[in-house]
Amino acid sequence: MYQFNYAKPATVAEAATLYANAEDPVFLSGGQTLIPTLRQRLAAPTDVIDLSGIGELSGIAVGDGKVTVGAFTRHCAVAESAEVQAAIPALADLAGRIGDAQVRNCGTIGGSVANSDPAADYPAAVVALGATVRTDKRSISGDDFFRDLFETALEPGEIITSIEFPIPDRAAYRKFPNPASRYAVVGVMVADFGGNVRVGVTGAGPCAFRARTIEDMLNANLSTSALDGVEVPDAGFNNDLHASAEYRAHLVKVMARRAVSDLLGA
């Protein structure tokens, strides 16, 4: 780890000011990516601005047909929230299967979404549920939020304050975990909003995306057999030590079909 200045602001406004006035700052949320990066001396920020002291960023609220999760809310809090479990059980289920217990006790939803790790779980929900990402400056549609590998619509210094998930009639998340890291090799969330089906995929490509072909087939016929003939092209998919692009494309089909089966069974 290199030396850096450390600050722990109490408000979002204070955090934004600290960021604006620093040379090469970085926000620290749950630290599940940043801390290992710092420890391995792969990053050398001048300033680390710790968001953990900002009370307004934490918490879960359910109402008006949506679940609002504060950006600093830890994965374990979402997984264990009775309100989330009642409103969007698939979201609580997803949160409960991120990483391992230590990761879930530290990691935050804002940190996960802002990082746009291609294998993170939450982005599948942001996309599938058509969430709205609220920041200190604006609101960003879930469909527009993830841009590329570790790249989002956020401007430098912009702070996610909360994420609003519209409550679907039903939804399900299926994940094929990487046996080493337990990140998603492929994760698929299928959500049904009154007959309008949305499908979010993580792990397969450079960032989370909506699987429009699968959505179209399911909107025509919401059943597992609807996906029997689906072709998922692997162009642009991740191809690495853990899974070829071809295998990931296959897993998108299988996980989507299983998510539909769960959704219909629920």
């Binding site: 030396q3 046996p179 080493a180 890291s181 030590l241 295998y247 296959h250």
Partner: protein, 779 residues
Amino acid sequence: MSEGTGIGASVKRREDVRFLTGSGTYTDDLNQPGQTYGVFLRSPHARARIGAIDASEALALDGVLAVYTGQDSAADGLGDLPCGWLVKSKDGSDMVSAPRPPLAVTQVNYVGEPYGLVVGETLAAAQQGAELVMTDFTELNPVVDPASAADSETIHEGLDSNVVYDWGLGDEEATDAALAGAAHVTQLDLSNNRLIPNAIEPRAAIGVYEAASGDYTLYATTQNPHLERLVLAAFVQVAPEHKLRVVAPDVGGGFGSKIFIYPEETIVLWAAGKLGRPIKWTAHRYESFLADAHGRDHITHAQLGLDRDGRFVALKVSTTANIGAYLSTFGSSVPTFLYGTLLAGQYKTPNIYVETLGVYTNTCPVDAYRGAGRPEATFVVERMVETAARELGRDPAELRRLNMIQPEDFPYETPVALVYDTGDYEASLDKALELADYGGFEARRRESAAAGKRRGVGFACYIEACGIAPSQLAISLGAGVGLYESGEIRINPTGSVSVFTGAHSHGQGHETTFAQVVSDKLGIPFDDIEIVHGDSGRMEFGLGTYGSRSLAVGGSALIVAADKIIAKGKKIAAHMMETTDDNVDFEDGTFSSGNQQATIQEVAFASYVPADYPEDLEPGLSEKAFYDPKNFTYPAGTHIAEVEVDEETGEVDLVSFVAVDDFGEIINPMIVDGQVHGGLAQGAGQALMEHGRYDDYGQLQTGSYMDYCMPRADDLPDFVVDTTVTACTHNPLGVKGCGEAGAIGSPAAIINAISDALDGHNIAMPATSEQVWRALGGK
């Protein structure tokens, strides 16, 4: 199971109190006055010439004390790191050793190879300094693939090729003839995946030099402190043996990876002398991945010939073993004497021939890792047998039974140089078949099929050889050291006991089991016995712990020492009882003659306060022994795995695992169960997940837990473990050793089960879900 604390009792491990409460003392927990910190400069290239090293910026940094390079250590006359086992090729020529200086001088040969040391007042200063050292490398073409290494550019300057040796064992002519006449020949291409050890405690070392006395002390994570001292003194010549003390405090796991004499520990000690201040180095986990000796990495073609009845007539095995960039301490012996000699397995195969081509590549050196040669041998034999059974439509259990060496055949001399002393292989097989409910398998297979899963069952009837011995034989085969063990028992004046062993515990539980043995033998309460190990300054000599040898060899040394204690105690007691020592009996801690009695504690006191004492006897009650076994021990057993394969994703679920092992007599059943569980987990890791992979440029692709997949508790079923017992015939405890069996039998059993689920497909390790999906026809 017997009650209490003697032999056969499941005494809770006394060392666990400190381990589980965080109060153990590991090398990194120790600090010395005036201590500094070392960070190694490591090669970023798989193969490159080292040009100018500019350390001026680093040395200018506040807190950086010194930068040492290979030029410095070479100029100081520091010797190369030796390989401890000379293997000869078929033509009688010696293996080809590439010189391995502790710090690379002219050329680096694998990513992570150390070529310099930066020392700082703080770890941060040393890290910063290391980043400021500028080194000119000229990259050379690396050789990474062992399959083509023999025919590739020679990686070491001055050598003729990358071949280390072309070794053979057995009668090739007779084997070929028997194969030619066989009714059926099964052939397979097999690979044994490279593994990275991953002990929970990374390696660490603190070098200390005291100028006034000229004494050196090395605190290090080693499985064999005396061997470390011997090599550093005799070969590397850091310090003379009488001026060097090596201490291995609590050590958090080794699995073989902490046997070896590595560059880092050597250099930290040498540099402490140069600097005149203690230097501490603790490996980062990424350094463990890059630079702890790796394991396995074989490519094999094998042929098994059977007659019309299904009896094995010949086995021929041809293996290419990846040695890595240099010969590590025992790297030469693992794919030869610890591998080829085990290819008879549990069977009466009359003709066996094995040849091993050892090759250098630009990868981390490969050496012993839990099982060391025996998992590789078991994998070959048991994959061949299982495949032959499938090809012939025979039940795999019954084909094995037909070929097994029978109890009346012992001692049994194999065609590959070993003499098995005892065993009852069918007993283990029968017990395992029962525990696994083999008869119910077809019903379970149908149930799985109904749920869309393919189910498979697989066997491994393994044999291993533990406690390499006797020393004369091992040395005649090329070993550079003896393979005896020492033990010393000191009965203190108050009757408590200090036991010193040359074996080393780094997770095995010796502090408990050795105390059980001594308590049982001398009738002294368990709580009055202390086991001391891991310090060349406290015990005379020792060869450490590896190859499941500690109890069979080190425990036997304690029995011999205890016999000497009893013999002397009888003389003292005879004097007290006014009789002769042949009239004195010893039982349960009491000497007796007629109706006279004296406890061993009373006798011990009399020996230290010799008021009324035999004239011709030395005072004191302390004895030591060196025990050199007459033969190896041969644990054996049957492992049965069942798997379910998800047809859509290729995922393999290890649904059950039964292990029935014959370890001879058992001192502590709970510790034995724990050893088996750990070994099975490692074997499951090898079969399903673990794979040390390099890319074509020699960069390690699996250098962290994000990419190197270790098994976790939720990847494993509840293991069913049990034992059968045939006592070892040649050591006083009748014990065989249990440390490695789990890792030896399980990879073959699991892969055989997956192959069964895949209609006989020759699936490679690790059987990842994508591989299995492809085997199922996924494209």
